[in-house]
Amino acid sequence: MGLQTTEKPFLERVEEAKKDKFMQGSVAKAQDAQLIKREDARAQLGHWQQWRELGEQIRKETVRYLPDYLEEFADNVEKQGGHVFFAKDDKEAAAFIRQVAVEKKAKNIVKSKSMVTAEIGLNKQLLSIPGVSLMETDLAEFILQEDDWDEPTHIVFPTLHKNRTQIQKIFQKLGYKGDNDPSTMAKFARKYLRNKFIHADLGITGCNFAIADNGMINLVTNEGNADLCMAIPKTQVVVMGMERIVPSLKEAETLDNMLSRSAVGQKLTSYCTFCGKKQDGESDGPDDFYVVIVDNGRSKALGTVFEPVLQCIRCGACLNVCPIYRHIGGHGYGSIYPGPIGAVLSPILDGYEKFGDLPFASSLCAACTETCPVKIPLHHLLIEHRRIMMDKIHTDHTFTNQIMKIIGVGTGSPFLFKSVLRFGHVGLNVLTTKKPANTVSGFLYQQGRVGKVNPPLPKLMLGWTDLRDLPNVSKKHQNFRSWFGKHTPVKAVAHPQPLK
């Protein structure tokens, strides 16, 4: 799949998303349900702001000394007989894992859910090996795979855009004959995938956190499929973004608590596992243990204002509070990392040409920054992306500069400025609502009249009037300057008499 999920232009994706009412309803339901669960779980823990400070410190310091922690981790993996490959980009990472699969003569590969394996386009590489069977074993990823590798729509709930009847139809292609009850369908998936697990010779997992001082990896899951991927196959490949590292088991445990609460509102998920290469005397677990550490553009954030984005623990809480994500869902972003974190991260990983629209897919309400458990200043970073695009690389080819120049000339000339005050109301009357703006909602959301007239006018308004009317300026005799001129300043009273 790769980082980019579609080549359709941003506005086309948004239009498609706006028509998908089921997706919008599902996202709204998920956001509302998660709000209650997440805030309740955080409140029960207590001192949430201090926990955030601790989480931020752990992530910030490991990113600060990232080469040292990665070196320590690699030393410890290798001490136990494991192998580490450092991949500078997606192609190198996927090619190395393909190379391992070929060398091990793997025929039956099982995977657990991993965003970074999607980012590096791993499945396509593995499926190019003749005779290889590849199976996603997370229930949601399994559904997407069987639906012709559909794209995920959320980093924690990938199938949020599908309803139970759609899933029933997908399973029917595999021989399922039951109803659309989620419990019955999950049992079918359990049975179907159990057979794949038993015959698996290569397991591929992601990594929530790598433990620097003992070479273990930590996975936080709910279904149990990741643990089977790490128990049954003789070979395991772990794929991790290079920043997913912590000093020791203790910091991993702290972050697991924060991740579980922030992602799904649980105190801990069903399975938090810390594991490595099979030791002498143990009969299951990987004989061959590989870790692939992926850069793929992450290093472009190091030493820049964007470095805090590497603190991310992929909880998805920022998606769950975002009003833009609520309306356009994951597919609207066109990146496997949607929502505010995706809008910050995607342009860093693969540039503004592909993902330059995403920093503008934000109301800058700052809800993402406020909910982030490791205090990434997400909305500040979105503004920083905008600043770079506007001021440094000049990606804006609309009429913004010309409009701003005209406004500059108009406000810089007393004659023009007064003329606008005198005639602006009449001039704009044709574009603005004729109804009085008695209420806030009436004022903000009318008919979008400007958006309905022929181009180029809506184009000039850059979408600002798609859903709302342009408010008119006041008539000259009603504007502030006129009002101010008719009123005499009242001298302030320094010591008012007490009321009797």
Partner: protein
């Protein structure tokens, strides 16, 4: 395509690139070890007695769909027999461990040894996995029970492997009351110290909070996906 190589050159090129991009030199960590800015992981839920922790553990375990039971060493065999009857057990999987004696279950184990399957240290991977896959019930031992989250913790050992905890349909875990701790922090402190001191040799530590579950279909909670369909904790009063 040329074969991609692991090794020192691959590692050094990658890490030097990170140092160069960040503008910070490598090998600074020894002078800047991580020191947490607060002690919340330890102070949260601190100061409870073992009886209070048992109550908290029961409440939180029940909340994650665990069948929570308490008993004494003398009553444990009866609890296990009732459980096996209730599950209509056909294929029972047991660990190879000296814990049976510790819990006064030597006779119970001897009675069931011939009919049950054992996860055996000297068996092959295929043999142990086959037993776990066939098992409808597994009875195992946990290292700790975390009161805050209703979580049992199990380190993989030769006699109780990884898949022991995941392949069987129904799972019962025996935990001594003395091993209930407040949070994951205390359990992790023990594991971290034991691994570093060489007292514990393991490749895998599982923190298990209730049965497997998923909300992937319309966010409807489904209990029992790839791991056990249900979980039972039996806390044995050893104090």
């Amino acid at each position: 395509m040329e074969k991609l190589q692991m090794g020192k050159a691959n590692r050094e090129a990658f890490l030097n690139h990170l140092a160069q991009k960040s503008g910070r030199p490598r090998h600074q960590l020894k002078d800047h070890p991580f020191k947490p800015i607060n002690d919340l992981p330890h102070t949260t839920l601190a100061g409870h007695s073992q009886d209070e922790l048992l109550d908290i553990a029961e409440k939180n375990s029940t909340a994650v769909h665990v069948d929570f039971r308490t008993t004494t060493k003398d009553g444990l065999a009866d609890v296990l027999n009732q459980y096996l009857d209730a599950k209509h057990t056909q294929n029972l999987l047991l660990p190879t461990t000296d814990q049976w004696q510790h819990f006064a279950l030597a006779n119970w184990f001897n009675d069931h040894q011939s009919s049950a399957m054992l996860w055996q240290p000297d068996a092959t991977r295929a043999e142990n996995l086959d037993r776990a896959e066939k098992a409808d019930v597994a009875i195992g031992f946990a290292d700790y029970l975390l009161a805050e989250s209703g979580t049992i913790t199990v380190a993989t050992r030769p006699g109780q492997g990884r898949a022991f905890n995941f392949l069987p349909q129904h799972y019962l875990s025996i935990i001594p009351k003395s091993r209930i701790v407040a949070r994951s922090t205390q359990a992790m402190d023990h594991y971290d110290a034991d691994i570093k001191a060489g007292r514990l040799k393991t490749s895998n530590i599982n923190f298990i909070t209730g049965p497997s579950n998923s909300g992937d279909i319309e966010m409807v909670l489904v209990v029992g996906v790839h791991g056990p369909l249900d979980m039972t904790y039996v806390v044995v009063n050893d104090l």
